[in-house]
Subunit: 142 residues, 2 copies
């Protein structure tokens, strides 16, 4: 299955290790994660070298091609907020994950779109389980 | 004119004084700013007492009713990113303002939508001038 994993880049990388654990589990489950490289440590510097219009066009094309979008929303990010809205507009199932105790925008937590599922986690392991459960619910077993 | 001013709430209030100066100038120009109260200092605590679904429904209704959206994007925010995407989807003109030196998501800086204008400012006064220029370009003189 084709999964778009959305995470903060410009907004901050505090949860980078969580991003990496989730994507690793997805890839090990033989899913295609178009954005896998964006979870790597060097991604902020690397992405800064690419023309913004190219990044936008690439990311939008990946969202259009994906079956589901999984977003980590513990760190505020314009890009991830935009991507969640864009995906819901296309009717894609979206899972938004956040660490327990972090505040989530009400444009996400109050969003009544039935395609949007918001879940919290306490540990990295729980975050991975939530991602697996989401795929299972959408008949995309990991 | 009806203006939706989008700013970070949950994501952080570092630029609250800029939000207030922009909205004050808009209101003094006899425009209706549906979100004016969201720039006030007590807004984070106040918004926390309202049901997230109510906030979402209210904000989306305000976006649908607005002529243009002006967003301050110096502070990363899922909500503002979502609102920019939603407004562009409705074909609304959007101005995104950021303080010089702040990093902006490439989903905004690389967005080719002709309805999106991204401008930086150095001082609060410059931010207000950018907002005025944007209204002028859209035949909505302040």
């Amino acid at each position: 299955m084709n999964i778009y994993f959305a995470c903060s880049i410009t907004g901050g990388r505090e949860f980078e290790s969580v991003y990496q654990a989730i994507v690793q589990a997805l890839v090990e489950g033989n899913h295609v994660v178009s954005t896998a490289h964006l979870t790597e440590s060097g991604t902020v510097a690397l992405e800064a070298t690419i023309d913004p219009r190219e990044v936008y066009a690439r990311d939008i094309a990946w969202i259009r091609a994906c079956d589901v979008l999984i977003a980590e929303v513990s760190t505020p990010s314009h890009g991830v907020g935009y991507e969640i809205g864009f995906s819901l507009g296309l009717g894609k199932p979206v899972l938004a994950l956040f660490q327990e105790g972090r505040k989530v925008s009400k444009m996400i937590s109050g969003n009544p779109d039935p395609n949007l599922l918001l879940k919290h986690y306490r540990t990295v392991e729980e975050a991975v389980v939530q991602a697996k459960n989401f795929l299972f619910v959408h008949d995309l077993p990991l």
